[in-house]
């Protein structure tokens, strides 16, 4: 699968520098406090340009999920089924991130289950994945 990299115009550079250090750094407006993801040049709420960045905990809850059976990319043949989750970051204004839920792809997934970010280094970039908070304890 393609490796995620920063856009050429630099709008999301801080996010990618963060994940390289295994930290979740997302946009937060220094003026009005609004979180936004993915990054944009302007705060949608108060229209401050280049709104600023903040490190967040990487803890969240499963907001939605799916089990993918059909490979839509040649690299995924042999990897199905796999789990995709949408995670809401409760301490970051409920912005959402998409990733894979680690572990058994046939596990029962529950909306609202608590998860935390896990950083997975690949050649050329780093992925942000999710594991059940209970799995670590």
């Amino acid at each position: 699968m393609p490796v995620p990299v920063a856009t050429r115009d630099g709008v999301d550079r801080e996010f990618y520098e963060g994940v390289k250090r295994h930290q979740l750094v997302v946009q937060r407006c220094g003026k009005c406090g609004t979180f936004q993801f993915p990054a944009e040049w302007i705060c949608y709420k108060c229209h401050t340009m280049e709104p600023g960045w903040e490190r967040v905990s990487g803890r969240g809850r499963i907001y939605s999920w799916e089990r993918v059976w059909h490979p839509a990319h040649p690299a995924l043949k042999g990897s199905c089924p796999y789990l995709v989750v949408v995670v809401e970051l409760s301490d970051a204004g409920n912005i959402r991130m998409v990733g894979n839920l680690l572990g058994n792809p046939m596990q029962e997934v529950k909306i609202d289950a608590e998860v935390e970010a896990v950083f997975e280094d690949r050649e050329g970039g780093t992925l942000v994945q999710w594991q059940l908070a209970a799995a670590r304890a």
């Binding site: 393609p2 995620p4 799916e66 059909h70 839509a72 990319h73 949408v86």
Partner: protein, 389 residues
């Protein structure tokens, strides 16, 4: 709402379609398919191709308006307009733009076309092989979440969770579309009826979508001709009058990485009230509806957002009985639609809506007066159209 609207200021007078093929089945080039559909629509309307003075399309159709105008030798191109955004969101929008241009006097005779040969170009259901990716897709593709089926499944799951909806509701939508295709010899799935058992036993594409919850991938082309009220009255066919057209998107529905705030929405919450106000009707007045099925889940939420039922009534409303011709409360996708007639990016749904007003559908709703089209659920922007007799 402005008192000046497109209501009754333009009409659909010509319908043209090529044969519809399975993906890769078209024996000729995509551009030639576009030309064939346009010629058939002209013939249906009883005009010559050089009567066309405007072109509108959507979803970045590859068949450039200037190439079409040049190929057809149009003496005077007065309108060339493209509705922004991908997927089927712009189908009704392109018709609305054509109607607005006619009402404003920009053009007198506008063709809206869509040609697709997914066998000759990239497939919507497959993701290109790349080494790196940036921008909003970089937050989803590397995790194997890259296709419309995959993002609409996530949104459908959330809606089903919030409103206690089961597989029965979306299965009913697939079964209704396949039922109607069995009366339509043009449909790719004509002669291939679907049962609930077949649906349940079909493979998962991405839970909660089985194979039959997903649109097909096809080759073909379709075209629609609109003109002024004065001309429409003297054409070969009964006009399908524009009763209302609307386009747009709700608050931050285009946010990347699944950050649209109203997550399980089909994106019609601000649009539908505007549409009904222009038409001067309510949901209960609609006789027949064509709702774009990229995936059944988005049809379900569209029915809710257009007022046919509340979120908590989905299980009672979305039944095969309610959604099928001839006796259902709201016959849905009466030609088979994207699931079972042809995935012509929803232009075939607009053609079917016009047929219902003409009285020529293969699942003709008796005395259909008001015929609705919903274009592009769960994408941004989206659009709608209401036609009347």
């Amino acid at each position: 709402m402005s008192e000046f609207t497109v209501k009754d200021k333009a009409a659909i007078v010509g319908l043209g379609e090529t044969k519809y093929y399975k993906r890769g089945g078209a024996p000729v080039s995509e551009f030639r398919l576009a030309l064939e559909a346009i010629l058939r629509a002209c013939d249906d309307a009883g005009i010559g191709p050089t009567d066309i003075d405007g072109i509108a399309s959507y979803s970045n159709d590859r068949n450039d308006s200037v190439r079409v105008a040049t190929a057809l030798g149009l003496p005077e191109l007065r309108l060339s307009t493209m509705f922004w955004g991908g997927g089927g969101g712009g189908g009704s929008g392109a018709i609305g733009n054509a109607a607005a241009a006619i009402a404003a006097g920009y053009a007198n005779c506008v063709v809206v076309y869509r040609a697709l040969a997914q066998g000759q170009f990239g497939r919507f259901g497959q993701t290109p092989a790349l080494n790196t990716i940036s921008g909003p897709p970089a937050y989803t593709w590397p995790y194997g979440m890259s296709t419309p089926a995959q993002w609409i499944a996530l949104r459908t799951r959330r809606f089903m969770h919030e409103h206690h909806v089961t597989q029965d509701a979306i299965a009913a939508i697939a079964l209704a579309c396949y039922h109607h295709a069995q009366f339509n010899p043009r449909a790719v799935m004509y002669g291939r009826p679907l049962t609930r058992q077949m649906y349940d036993e079909s493979r998962w594409i991405v839970e909660p979508f089985h194979l039959y919850d997903c649109c097909m991938e096809n080759d073909g082309a379709a075209a629609v001709i609109l003109t002024t009220p004065e001309r429409a009255r003297d054409m070969r066919q009964r006009p399908a009058w524009i009763m209302a057209a609307a386009q747009g998107s709700d608050f931050r529905q285009g946010a990347g990485a699944e950050n649209n705030p109203d997550y399980g929405s089909s994106n019609f919450k601000t649009l539908a009230p505007r549409l009904y106000a222009m038409a001067g009707i309510e949901a209960k007045d609609v006789d027949v509806a064509q709702v774009y099925e990229n995936f059944t889940g988005a049809v379900m939420t569209s029915l809710v957002e257009h007022g046919f039922c509340t979120p908590d009534q989905v299980m009672e409303f979305c039944t095969v009985e309610n959604l099928t011709w001839p006796n259902g409360r709201l016959p849905l996708n009466t030609s088979g639609g994207n699931l079972a007639e042809c995935y012509m990016h929803g232009l075939e749904l607009i053609i079917e809506a016009a047929r219902q007003v003409r009285g020529t559908s293969t699942c003709q709703v008796k005395d259909a007066e008001i015929s609705m089209v919903v274009s592009g659920p769960m994408v941004a922007p989206v659009s709608d159209l209401i036609l009347h007799r």
